[in-house]
């Protein structure tokens, strides 16, 4: 690649980084056509390079297509209509989730709600979700939490009080992985409970240290 061309790509990558990291609209992310306008028609290539740069930082450029089912070989038209985000590439440790402002109750509630809606083919009555969350969460918190998930863009609700998955779930949650994890057998349960025990021990140690 010539120096001039390299320079042009670097400038485009900088521009793409600014566009993707800083919110431009009410919702985060950038539409493909906006990137095309700002970076020229080779923006998919620029995003690929940027994605490679983000890999060591455990971040990725995530593409969310307009249709729920992502096309196998997306055409430029599909990409223009898609929305691009920068998301975490790997996963968070439970302790890290606290750092980004989520209480374990709220996150568990979100996980349950999303899984339940997926299992119901993408649509569930709010009443049913409230009943399910009410099994383990305080009644006053259930409604507040659901409203919060809706406000953040994880869920949407129609006039008939039916809940659906919204744009943020599509951008952030690997739905297939979540269901696979939920249905994985006892092996996973054992692993999780082992992890839980060690975490609890660690937490207790930390609490002890703090009290000292």
């Amino acid at each position: 690649m010539s120096t001039k061309r390299k320079g042009a790509y670097t400038a485009k990558m900088k521009r793409a980084t600014h566009m993707l990291f800083y919110r431009r609209h009410q919702k985060p992310g950038v539409k493909g056509w906006e990137l095309r306008k700002a970076l020229s028609s080779d923006y998919p290539k620029v995003l690929d390079v940027l994605d490679d740069f983000l890999k060591p930082l455990d971040l990725q450029v995530k593409t969310v297509f307009e249709d729920e089912k992502a096309p196998e070989k997306p055409a430029i038209d599909d990409l223009d209509k898609a929305r691009f985000y920068v998301t975490l590439r790997g996963d968070l440790e439970p302790k890290e989730s606290k750092m980004i402002g989520w209480r374990i109750d709220d996150l568990a509630g979100l996980a349950i709600t999303i899984s339940f809606i997926i299992s119901k083919k993408g649509q569930a009555a709010r009443r049913d979700v409230e009943e399910l969350l009410g099994e383990k969460l305080a009644g006053w918190k259930v409604g507040l939490n659901l409203d919060r998930y809706i406000r953040y863009g994880y869920l949407q609700q129609d006039d008939n009080e039916q809940l659906y998955l919204d744009w943020r779930t599509r951008a952030e949650v690997d739905e297939k992985a979540l269901i696979d994890l939920l249905l994985r057998g006892d092996e996973q349960d054992a692993k999780l409970s082992k992890g839980k025990a060690s975490d609890e021990d660690e937490e207790e140690d930390e609490e002890e240290k703090e009290s000292e």
């Binding site: 439970p94 690997d174 992890g195």
Partner: protein
Amino acid sequence: MATQQKGQKRKETKKLGKDRLERVIDMMRGIEDHTVDPFLLNVDEIIRIVQEYFPEWDQPEELNLDAEAIHHLASVIKLQSEWVKQRSTSLYTDPFLLEERIIQKDKREMTELFLQAWHPIVEQEQVTLRSLADALRYWDALVPLRERWEQPAVTQVATGITSREELTDQSILRDEAFSTEMDRYWNELKQKTQLKGKEGKLEYMDWVGADTYTETVQRVYITSFLVTYGYATLDVIPLEDEIYIMPLWEPAAKQTRQAFSVPITLTSESWQKWKRGKKP
């Protein structure tokens, strides 16, 4: 006698076959409307019924019924295939099984599971020197609210009397002169048709033609409105290259047919030809 019995038997077989096919079609329609489970239908049995009665059909409506049964059967097989595909996708999960799993897990397990499938969006919020400088420039250029919200000055005018011309100019009243002019032309057309016309119509050029070209154009202009507003109608004979105008004794209140435009060219040359007593 034997032939009669045979004929009677064939008639009964046909009736039975038709009834069976109609029942099958009804059931398949139910499946297509998603009111019946697609797997309740035994496809082999339906094919056997269709095959059994096919040799009996010789009338078009009977063959049509047979084709309809096959068509619906194909739709049902498609629905069965879609159902199997949906159940076999990795995202299909039995809701009861999943619900059971969710209830079994405690909050911590559920959160740990979710964290493995959750990749939150990364966003930055930061003020830069450049954005501050831009904001300051914007502030400097911003017009104060008292100036932006200033009420437009409205000049007070004393009440007075408006004239007909002013109302006509503002399209509040119709131009009476023009409608009077149209009435005059309409009456003239009716009279002229009675005097010089044939079969209640007058040759177009004989009607619009005047002593001067300007006057002729003026008549063409008014005539176009007579036709548009239903005071007259045109009879165009394309093969003969002839156009006639027919006055209507009562203006046509409503367009009953699709309106269409008739382009008529009137050049100075064609007017001169008419004037010399020739056809345009």
